[in-house]
């Protein structure tokens, strides 16, 4: 039996009996992914496009109800562009750049998230999580039609696993009863209450924040501006905070801080919620409730994201508060990081030690997300009178003096992680090169003659970018072929982001579009050494 844990919004992969269930000995799969949420499906798509056979096991047969994650960051869209489905998401999503912060009824300040031109993708789109997942699954279906070796099994629940020398033995339950399979690698993308983590008896330490928040997603015809609006101490939620955010389909995300000691049953009552909403948007505006939820949050992380042949990605590995949109966006950076490493190791192009760098780099990224998200939570939910004192002082000062603006913390929105200090980076060898394209950085996008830079980077493999250098079409390093992209640049945005004061530059680009090394000109020996370093050699 596989009990439903939640309602599904779209049924995308109904249960079907497969040959593995009748096999006399367990079938072996190169990669088994537990959980078909955005992180699991993103990983399956990435691996499938690279030709790595992978099997997704999901204990439901579709996408869960409720908008849940709604803010998808530029970096996530760039990853989805690489995976082939960024455009569909942007078409469906609501683009926003402007945020306003209010105290009481007065606007304290506003900010533009992307004051900089020259990026294909906006800073953020708002899109309900079910649509985001649907785009990923549709792209998997399109890739499957072209022969990508991805399989999704709905209503297949993980009920046991055992690490062996060269594989993981997995027990799976289905509507037709249990069966066993083997995985060379297992990736747990099964969420904050990860059954994989529980089955392995692994810890998930962190801080719980003593506060409750109510989400009310409502549908209404009224036209509020496409902005993120955040209130401290609004008249409709005195002494607390509130948030208003637009989603596609005329749906709006409203978020009310409730405090710690609440009567949960009373607060989730639809009539009570409707009166809260009416107080916020105005009594004359018609609306309907689409989805409501009361949540508390914690910031937690596993100690290790790799346990031999088992990897943890997304919320199963780390959990953050929702402020800053660092949950799903962080998870997508996990799979961006893991997919190419698994593919190279499975293809025999890199040593197993490359997989250790997944933990190294993504734990670093998760720590950054947890740090930012905890700081926001501390600002929004002061824990003692001294915290209240300073929070109120900041909010007062901001109305008098500009210096206090950056101290107001209503969410530090997700930005891509730069893997400073990663063992895969080569020493920065470009004198006076721009900070933002130093080794470890995700490539900054830039306009080029025929569009945008990131669209021209070879997908799914290491490549070389040369600016004002004549590179061959390919560079052969032993058995690995690096495609080269040669561009000219002078005093333009590309130069500002990639050359700085240098006349020319050569970059080694990882399959996840992070920069592994940079030099003023092509030096094949240095490139070869950097490639070895970036693939886990020394």
């Amino acid at each position: 039996m596989v009990q439903a844990r939640y309602q599904t919004a779209f049924r995308l992969y109904p249960y079907a009996k497969v040959a593995d269930q009748a096999a006399s000995t367990p079938r072996r799969h190169p990669v088994v992914i537990i959980g078909g949420g955005p992180v699991g499906m993103g990983l399956a798509l990435d691996l499938g496009k690279k030709g790595i056979p992978c099997l997704v096991l999901d204990d439901h047969d579709g996408v869960g109800m409720g908008s849940r994650a709604i803010c998808f960051a530029k970096r996530t869209l760039e990853i989805c562009d690489r995976l082939g489905c960024g455009e569909q998401m942007v078409q469906k999503g609501v683009v926003w750049n402007l945020g306003r912060v209010y105290r009481g009824e007065r606007e304290v300040y506003h900010f533009n998230l992307l004051p900089e031109e020259g990026h294909k993708r906006p800073a953020f789109i708002n899109l309900q999580q079910p649509y985001f997942e649907q785009c990923l699954v549709e792209e998997i279906r399109a890739e499957q039609a072209k022969g990508a070796p991805v399989e999704i099994r709905g209503k297949n629940r993980l009920i046991g696993l055992e690490q062996k020398d060269d594989h993981v033995l997995i027990q799976v339950d289905t509507p037709d009863g249990p069966y066993e399979i083997e995985a060379e690698y297992l990736v747990a993308c099964d969420g904050a209450s990860s059954p994989t983590r529980d089955l392995m008896g692994l810890g998930f330490d962190g801080r719980t924040f003593e506060d409750n928040f109510l989400i009310a997603d409502i549908k209404m015809k009224a036209d509020f501006p496409t902005e993120r609006r955040f209130w401290f101490d609004p008249p409709f939620n005195r002494g607390k905070t509130a948030l208003m955010h637009k989603q596609p389909d005329r749906v709006w995300r409203l978020d009310f801080q409730l405090g710690w000691d609440i009567d949960r049953a009373a607060e989730i009552d639809p009539d009570k919620i409707k009166s809260r909403v009416a107080a916020m948007i105005g009594k004359d505006i018609d609306f309907e409730l689409v989805w409501t939820s009361i949540y508390t949050f914690r910031c937690a992380s596993m100690e290790q994201y790799r346990h031999d042949r088992v990897f943890f990605a997304g919320d199963s590995a780390h959990q953050v508060s929702p402020f800053g949109a660092r949950g799903c966006n962080g998870g997508m950076q996990d799979i961006d990081n893991l997919a190419w490493k698994l593919a190279m190791v499975i293809n025999g192009q890199a040593d197993d030690s490359l997989l250790d760098s997944y933990h190294e780099e993504r734990k670093y990224g998760a720590d950054e997300n947890i740090r930012n998200s905890s700081r926001t939570a501390d600002f929004l939910t002061p824990r003692n009178p001294a915290h209240v004192l300073f929070r109120d002082a900041v909010l007062d000062l901001v109305e008098h003096y500009e210096f206090a603006l950056p101290l107001v913390n209503s969410g530090r929105l997700s930005t891509p992680c730069t893997y400073d200090g990663s063992s895969l980076n080569s020493m920065d060898a470009l004198p006076n090169g721009p900070m933002r394209s130093r080794p470890g950085s995700p490539m900054p996008d830039a306009p080029i003659e025929d569009g945008y830079l990131l669209d021209y980077v070879a997908t799914g493999r290491f490549s070389v970018l040369g600016i004002n250098c004549d590179l061959p079409e390919h560079i052969q390093l032993k058995s690995y072929t690096l495609p080269c992209l040669s561009l000219r640049s002078e005093r333009d945005v590309l130069a500002e982001r990639y050359l700085g004061e240098a006349q020319s530059a050569v970059f080694l680009i990882r399959p996840d579009q992070h920069i592994a090394g940079r030099w003023p000109e092509l030096n094949t020996l240095a490139l070869e050494h950097a490639f070895e370093t970036a693939t886990g050699g020394s």
Binding site: L389, F390, D392, A393, V394, D396, L397, Y401, F403, A404, L407
Partner: protein, 67 residues
């Protein structure tokens, strides 16, 4: 190496101290705290350098401990 200046540095020591006391005269407890919080934030912004501010926080905490 310490960057925080813990040697006498005020241009007008007694004048500053007098002003500090005057600013607090007649305030209720809650306002005393509120004033000091604002003052700390204003001065911290002026200093700006994170390592100096961290040293100042440590120095203040250390001076709070009594034997």
């Amino acid at each position: 190496m310490s960057k925080l200046n813990l040697s006498p540095n005020l241009e007008d020591t007694d004048g500053f101290y007098e002003g500090l006391l005057n600013a607090h005269n007649g305030l209720k407890d809650a306002d005393i705290h509120a004033l000091n919080a604002r003052l700390i934030l204003i001065l911290a912004n002026h200093i700006g350098e994170q390592d100096i501010l961290e040293e100042a926080l440590s120095a203040a905490s250390a001076a709070l401990k009594r034997d």
